[in-house]
């Protein structure tokens, strides 16, 4: 069973286009969605939720089309900022959600409020960004979701709040039926957390791979400019010329025998792909 399947998804705006996105998130896995600002991460998430209207393609969540009402019971969503009416209190918000979700668990919600030290009777507008994010997670996790979608939920948080949220995601994915799609700029968070990495650039999905395979597939080499130009151009994803020679991100499979590439961190790969400049 796949938690999320996206096939040929496309969406065009006046100045931005999301083109032919295909990706699959197997159940029980965490997928990190990486991309620069404006790459299309939030648009993709809005299309998955049905907040944006797709031009073409299909999105299925847990085996159902994303428009099916029962799907929403199974999705927990945390937005990139506080999205609850800010004159409500967490206590009132819980009662609101109790009237919306059939599977709402008041006791779970109360436990999360305690765990995150969120005052139940204080208006949400008085919350810090970190508290707002934690409240979003408390709501998202209190109706027994099977897929959690987080849009930049860790951005702008202090390290302690970020760690709390990451711990919670680890706990959530202990259940093999639970999956997470998380977009973030903070690649180090995703590197620790994710099984899969999807990289978006200018509305196109550049890659969607298992994280462990990325380091098998890509590597870094340091050569002179003349040595680099002798390589198959398809092997070089990105190069950087320094006074001491060239540093290049390469596809290991296309390298000639005898040239060994050193391992690459996901963050290095992300930066290199964002600045992609094939030779």
């Amino acid at each position: 069973m796949n938690a999320l399947v996206i096939e040929h998804l496309s969406k065009a705006y006046d100045k931005f286009r999301l083109e032919d996105i295909n990706l699959t998130l197997p159940a029980g896995c965490i997928m990190g969605l990486i991309g620069e600002n404006g790459a299309g991460k939030s648009t993709l998430i809005r299309l998955i939720l049905g907040a944006a209207i797709k031009d073409g393609g299909a999105v299925s969540v847990l085996g159902y089309p994303n428009s099916a009402p029962q799907v929403k019971e199974e999705i927990g969503f945390v937005a990139d900022e506080q999205v609850f009416p800010d004159r409500l209190t967490p206590l009132q918000l819980g009662k609101v959600m109790n009237g919306i979700y059939q599977s709402w668990q008041p006791e779970t919600y109360r436990r999360f409020l305690n765990r995150f030290s969120l005052p139940p009777t204080q208006e949400i507008r008085k919350f810090s960004r970190g508290m707002g994010m934690k409240l979003g997670l408390a709501v998202a996790l209190s109706h027994a979701p099977r897929l959690l979608i987080l849009d930049e939920a860790t951005s702008g948080l202090d390290p302690v709040a970020r760690e709390d949220i990451l711990d919670l995601l680890y706990e959530f994915t202990r259940d093999p039926d639970h999956s997470v799609l998380i977009s973030s700029h903070i690649v180090s968070d995703l590197e620790k957390l994710c099984d899969y990495i999807a990289f978006l650039k200018n509305g196109r999905l550049m890659l969607c791979e298992e994280k462990d395979r990325l380091s098998e597939e890509y590597g870094l080499i340091r050569l002179s400019e003349s040595e680099l130009s002798a390589l198959d151009p398809a092997a070089v994803v990105h190069k950087k010329v320094t006074p001491y020679g060239c540093e290049a991100l390469v596809k290991r499979a296309l390298l000639p025998r005898g040239i060994k590439a050193s391992p690459i961190e996901i963050e290095e790969l992300f930066v290199a792909m964002a600045k992609e400049e094939t030779v």
Partner: protein
């Protein structure tokens, strides 16, 4: 639907003290000047529009896309909430009108006017948001005021004789208002179902 309604009533509660103050002031002042009774119903209608603006400010509409309720439910809830606010307010004003011997039919016609106003405003606000809807409100207000002043100008010059209204005109206006509200719900749903929620 129940949860969405509960949310609107919680938000309303924040303004409820103000609402109660207005109702108390109106009840008191109505004995001196009965025409003041027309304001609470409009105030209730504008509260519905205002709360939709509060939601928009917090990007709640985006969150509703992730909730297990359809866009149709989101639209219908707004109208149901409006009804749950307008009808009790009208009932209170109606009772005060009877107490002070003010014409109760005027209160009912006032309700019709408030419903017509909401029928115009809600679809536009749900689809285009508060900022862009403001321009629409301005156009409507200018059009209504200009229309009335033009009409009264012509009438003063003796160029216009208004037709005698049939004795059942309140019922007719009520029926037309209900029809307008129905059309408004359909329009709001059609406008909202393809809205990009952000």
């Amino acid at each position: 639907m129940k949860g969405l309604l509960r949310k609107d009533f919680y938000l309303l509660w924040r303004y409820f003290k103000f609402y109660l103050m207005i109702m108390a002031a109106v009840a008191g002042l109505a004995f001196a000047d009965s025409i003041i009774l027309i304001y609470p119903i409009f105030f209730a209608a504008m509260t519905v529009v205002g709360l939709t603006g509060v939601e928009e400010k917090s990007r709640w509409q985006l969150y509703t896309a992730a909730l297990p309720c359809s866009r149709k439910t989101v639209v219908l809830e707004k109208y149901l909430f409006a009804a749950l606010l307008l009808f009790p307010t009208t009932a209170i004003c109606f009772l005060i009108a009877i107490l002070i011997h003010f014409e109760p039919v005027i209160i009912l016609l006032n309700l019709c006017a408030a419903v017509l106003l909401l029928s115009l405003f809600l679809p536009v606000q749900l689809r285009f948001g508060v900022e862009r809807a403001r321009l629409f409100y301005l156009i409507i207000i200018v059009a209504v005021i200009s229309g009335f002043s033009a009409l009264s100008g012509i009438q003063e010059e003796g160029g216009l004789t208004l037709p005698q209204l049939p004795h059942f005109y309140p019922a007719l206006i009520g029926l037309l208002t209900a029809l307008a509200a129905g059309i408004s719900i359909l329009c709001a749903w059609r406008l909202y179902r393809n809205k990009e929620l952000a």
